[in-house]
C-alpha cells in the first residue's frame, strides 16, 4: 500500500494501473470513483475487475491527512470478513495530499434494491432474499462487534450487495468513517458528535446517552429489517438542525407512535438519560396507547420474523438482541433458509430480479474536475455517496418528509427535474445515457474477493441444503 513518487506532471503513477470509468458518488469527505484495474495481459474485450475508489479531501487547511480517512483506513486494515468491504489499496495523490482508498466494487446496495422494488417493481422483496440479506448483515456485524468495532452509521445505502460474479448477492458492510473501536476510548464516544442518520438512530442516542454500545447498530438493523419487509423507512422523523446537537423530538415521536412509550419499569436506565430526565418537550407524556409494529410490517405477532424484529427494536439497549444471538434465532432456521447469494430467485425457475447498476458520471476525472458542462438531468442525489454521505435527511430541505427520503431520480425527466428543483447538483450531463434506469445514488465502496477465498472461508450458513 502506499505509493512512491508521482509519475507525470499531473498523473500520479498509481493511476496507471486503473482505467477510470467515472464518478459514482460525492459527499462531505470527498468523491467516489469507479475504475477498472488494467488487466495484466491486455487483449481486446478483456476488462479488469471493477474497483471503487474513494477519495478523501484534505482535512482542515494545514492539518495534514484527514482524521476520518485515517480512522477508516486503520480499521479496514485490521478487518477481514466476507460480509465487510475489502480495502484493496491505499493511494496518495502527491499534488494535494489527498488519500484514495481502493475497494472491491459492489454493484448494488440495499437503498437501491429497496427503491427498485418500491418504485419499479411495485412488489415486495422475496422472503428468501430478505432473510439472506439480514443474515449476512448480522454475520458481518457479529464479526465487527466481536472485534470491538461499532459501525455507528448503518443504513441501507451503507450496506452493499455484490453484483454478478463469484460473489453475486453477497452483502458487504461499508463506510467505516464513523466506526469506532470501543475497547478503551480515551474520550467518551459521544465526543465525536452525534452519529447515525436519524432514521436509524437508537432511542438511547436520541435521548442523549453518553455511553452507548454495539446495541446502537442492532437498532439500525431492526429498522433496516422492517424496511426490507415494507420497502419504507420504519421511522421517518424530520431532523431538527437548529443547534449543533439538537433534541430530535420528531424522530422519538415516530418511534413512540409505533412501539409505544418506553417506561422506566421496562427500561430502568431510561431515568438517567438526559433528555428523558429533564422531560424535554414533555417527552414523558403518554401520547400513544396502541403500539402497532405488527400492522406496519404485516407480520403475525407470533411469527418468528416478528419476534426477531421486536427483539432488535427493544428499547433497553441492555436487553436488545445482539448480532450473535440474532444469528441463532429461529427465524433463520425455518424455510426458506438464508443463502450465500441473496439475489437468487426464491423459487427454482422464477425469474431473477434485474437490479439497476449504478449510474456513472463519466465526465469527471480523479481530481473531481468535470470536463463537460453539466446540463440538466442530475442523477438524483448521486451527489451523495456513502460516507460520502448519503446522509439523507440532512441533505434535504427542512420539510416534513413524506414518502421518499431523497429525491427519487428515475429515468424520466420529471424525476430529473424534481431533483434539480431540490437543489441537488447535477452530475450526469444530459448527453450521457443513464444506465438501465438507475436513478441517483452513487456509491462507493466495495468488494469482491477471490472466489476460492470466499468459498473456503466457510461463512457458516445455517444448514444449507440448496442455493450454493
Amino acid at each position: 500500500m502506499g505509493d512512491g513518487r508521482a509519475g507525470g506532471a499531473n498523473r500520479p503513477a498509481w493511476l496507471q494501473q486503473y482505467e477510470l470509468v467515472g464518478k459514482i458518488g460525492e459527499g462531505t469527505y470527498g468523491l467516489v470513483f469507479l475504475a477498472r484495474l488494467k488487466p495484466a495481459h491486455p487483449a481486446p474485450g478483456r476488462r479488469g475487475p471493477p474497483i471503487a475508489i474513494k477519495k478523501f479531501k484534505q482535512s482542515k487547511e494545514g492539518d495534514g491527512v484527514s482524521p476520518t480517512a485515517i480512522r477508516e483506513i486503520m480499521l479496514l486494515r485490521e478487518i477481514n470478513h466476507e460480509n465487510v468491504v475489502k480495502l484493496v489499496n491505499v493511494h496518495i495523490n502527491h499534488a494535494d495530499m489527498s488519500l484514495y482508498l481502493a475497494f472491491d466494487y459492489a454493484e448494488h446496495d440495499l437503498y437501491e434494491i429497496i427503491r427498485h422494488h418500491r418504485e419499479k417493481l411495485n412488489a415486495p422483496i422475496n422472503p428468501y432474499t430478505v432473510k439472506s440479506l439480514l443474515w449476512q448483515l448480522l454475520n458481518g456485524l457479529n464479526y465487527l462487534h466481536s472485534n470491538w468495532i461499532i459501525h455507528r452509521d448503518l443504513k441501507p445505502s451503507n450496506i452493499l450487495v455484490m453484483g454478478e460474479g463469484e460473489e453475486h448477492g453477497i452483502i458487504k458492510i461499508a463506510d467505516f468513517g464513523l466506526a469506532r473501536i470501543y475497547q478503551a476510548p480515551l474520550k467518551a464516544l459521544c465526543d465525536n458528535g452525534v452519529v447515525v442518520t436519524i432514521w436509524y438512530r437508537a432511542p438511547e442516542l436520541l435521548l442523549g446517552a453518553k455511553h452507548y454500545t454495539s446495541a446502537v447498530d442492532m437498532w439500525a438493523v431492526g429498522c433496516i429489517f422492517a424496511e426490507l419487509l415494507t420497502l419504507k423507512p420504519l421511522f421517518q422523523g424530520v431532523e431538527a438542525k437548529n443547534t449543533p446537537n439538537p433534541f430530535q423530538l420528531d424522530q422519538l415521536d415516530k418511534i413512540f407512535k409505533v412501539l409505544g412509550h418506553p417506561t422506566v419499569e421496562k427500561w430502568p436506565t431510561l431515568a438517567n438519560l438526559p433528555w428523558w430526565q429533564n422531560d424535554q418537550q414533555h417527552i414523558q407524556g403518554h401520547k400513544y396507547e396502541n403500539p402497532g409494529l405488527h400492522n406496519i410490517v404485516h407480520l403475525p405477532q407470533k411469527s418468528p420474523a416478528f419476534d426477531l424484529l421486536s427483539k432488535m427494536l427493544e428499547y433497553d439497549p441492555r436487553k436488545r438482541i445482539t448480532a450473535a444471538q440474532a444469528l441463532e434465532h429461529e427465524y433463520f432456521r425455518m424455510d426458506p433458509l438464508p443463502g450465500r447469494n441473496a439475489l437468487l430467485p426464491s423459487q427454482p425457475g422464477e425469474k431473477i430480479v434485474q437490479y439497476p447498476v449504478r449510474p456513472v458520471d463519466t465526465t469527471t476525472d480523479f481530481e473531481g474536475t468535470t470536463s463537460l458542462q453539466p446540463t440538466q438531468a442530475p442523477s438524483g442525489n448521486a451527489a451523495q455517496g456513502q460516507s460520502v454521505s448519503r446522509s439523507m435527511p440532512r441533505q434535504m430541505p427542512q420539510q416534513p418528509m413524506v414518502g421518499m427520503p431523497r429525491v427519487a431520480a428515475g429515468t424520466n425527466m420529471a424525476a430529473f427535474n424534481a431533483a434539480s428543483q431540490a437543489g441537488i447538483a447535477g452530475l450526469n450531463p444530459g448527453n450521457i445515457p443513464m444506465q438501465r434506469g438507475a436513478g441517483g445514488q452513487s456509491h462507493p465502496h466495495q468488494l469482491r474477493r477471490k472466489a476460492d477465498q470466499g468459498m473456503m472461508q466457510n461463512p457458516g450458513y445455517p444448514q444449507q441444503k440448496r442455493r450454493f
Binding site: 500500500m1 502506499g2 505509493d3 512512491g4 513518487r5 508521482a6 482542515k60 494545514g62 492539518d63 495534514g64 491527512v65 482524521p67 485515517i70 480512522r71 483506513i73 486503520m74 480499521l75 486494515r77 485490521e78 478487518i79 477481514n80 491505499v90 496518495i92 495523490n93 502527491h94 499534488a95 494535494d96 495530499m97 466481536s146 472485534n147 470491538w148 468495532i149 473501536i181 475497547q183 478503551a184 476510548p185 480515551l186 474520550k187 465526543d191 465525536n192
Partner: protein
C-alpha cells in the same frame, strides 16, 4: 480492535531478533552508501506528498563519516525517550506515547536515522499517534508546545503513514497489565494485604513497561508477554503474590499454543533487554548528534570546522539543538 490475535501487529510487526538486526544493518549500509555517493544522506522528502528522492550531490570535503550501527541504535533510544518526555509534557494519555514509540520503531526498521531526521520523525509519530488515538492535537499546537516548526510534522506525515503501511492500530502492554491486575483481584481474593497492594503493583509495572518501550521488546513480543514480564518484575520487588502459581492458573484456564516454559523464557528475555537498556545522556549524544548533522548537511560540517579553528566554543546551532535534545 481489541483482538490482538487477528491484528496487523501480530501478523506483520512481531519479528525475530535476526530480522531486526538485518533490517537495521541494511538501512545503515544504504545510508552510508548514499553518503559516499552524494556527500549527504539527507533524502529529499516532497513537502506535500511524502515522496522520497535521492539527495542532490553536495560538493565539498568528503571526510564526513556515517553513523555506525551502534550509533544509530543509541540515537533511536534517545529519541524514543524524548517521545516519552514530550508526551508527558503535554500530559497526553499514556497510550499516546506507546503508540508513537511503536510507530517510531517501525519507521526506523525501514529507514536509517541518517535518511530521515529522528527529531522530525519523533514529532510526526506523536502527531499521528494523537490522531489515531482520538486525542487530536493540531500540528501547530504540537509544534508550538515544543518550539518546533509544525511544518516539519506535516511534511513527514505521509512518509510515516506509507512506511507504516497504514497499519496504525497498535497494542501496547498497558492495557494488558490492567487486565491482569483485574484478574489478580480474583486470584488474590483470599489475601487482603495482597489486594491492598495491587495498586502499587500496577503502578510499578507501568513504570517498568515504560522502560520496556525503549527496548526492542515491543518488536519481538506480544503485549501480553510484555505485560506479564512487567508484572513479574514489579512483583519481584513488591512480593505481592505467587507469580509462578498465577502463571500456571492462566495457562490451565485457556489452552495456549505456547507452553509455559516458552513463556517464562520470553519473560526472561524481556528482562534481559531491559537490563541492557542504556539511555544515552545529552552528553553521550553530543558526538553522535554532530555526526548526524554533518551527514545531513555538509555545509554545517565545513562551517563547524571553520568555527572550531576560530574558537573552541560550540556553535550557536549546536547549543540550540542541545537545548532541545537535553
Amino acid at each position: 480492535m481489541a483482538d490482538f490475535r487477528t491484528s496487523s501487529q501480530r501478523e506483520r510487526w512481531i519479528f525475530q531478533p535476526h530480522d531486526l538486526t538485518e533490517r537495521w544493518a541494511a538501512a545503515n549500509q544504504r545510508a552510508a552508501e548514499t553518503l559516499a555517493q552524494y556527500g549527504t544522506t539527507r533524502l529529499k522528502v516532497g513537502s506535500l506528498d511524502g515522496s522520497v528522492h535521492s539527495p542532490d550531490h553536495v560538493e565539498g570535503s568528503s571526510d564526513v563519516k556515517p553513523l555506525s550501527y551502534e550509533e544509530e541504535q543509541l540515537t533511536r533510544v534517545f529519541y524514543e525517550q524524548k517521545i516519552q518526555e514530550v508526551c508527558a509534557a503535554f500530559k497526553f494519555p499514556h497510550k499516546i506515547q506507546a503508540t508513537a514509540i511503536i510507530y517510531f520503531k517501525r519507521f526506523y526498521l525501514q529507514w536509517s536515522v541518517m535518511e530521515h531526521h529522528p527529531k522530525h520523525i519523533m514529532l510526526t509519530c506523536v502527531y499521528t499517534s494523537c490522531k489515531v488515538e482520538e486525542n487530536h492535537v493540531s500540528a501547530e499546537e504540537l509544534g508550538k508546545g515544543i518550539q518546533q516548526d509544525h511544518q516539519i510534522i506535516l511534511n513527514n506525515e505521509i512518509i510515516l503513514l506509507k512506511t507504516l503501511d497504514f497499519d496504525l492500530i497498535v497494542y501496547a502492554p498497558y492495557r494488558s497489565i490492567e487486565g491482569f491486575v483485574d484478574d489478580l483481584e480474583g486470584f488474590c481474593r483470599e489475601d487482603n494485604s495482597a489486594l491492598q497492594r495491587l495498586k502499587e503493583l500496577h503502578q510499578t509495572a507501568i513504570s517498568y513497561a515504560d522502560k520496556m518501550m525503549l527496548t526492542d521488546a515491543p518488536l519481538l513480543y506480544t503485549p501480553g508477554q510484555l505485560a506479564l514480564a512487567a508484572l513479574h518484575k514489579s512483583n519481584d520487588t513488591l512480593k505481592v503474590f505467587n507469580f509462578e502459581r498465577y502463571l500456571e492458573t492462566i495457562f490451565s484456564r485457556q489452552h495456549s499454543d505456547c507452553p509455559v516454559e516458552h513463556f517464562v523464557q520470553s519473560i526472561n528475555a524481556i528482562h534481559y533487554l531491559v537490563d541492557q537498556l542504556k539511555i544515552p545522556t545529552v552528553k553521550d549524544m553530543r558526538h553522535v548528534d554532530r555526526k548526524l548533522k554533518h551527514c545531513w548537511d555538509r555545509s554545517s560540517h565545513d562551517e563547524h570546522k571553520k568555527k572550531e579553528k576560530k574558537s573552541k566554543h560550540k556553535s550557536k546551532r549546536t547549543s540550540t539543538d542541545a537545548q532541545l535534545n537535553g
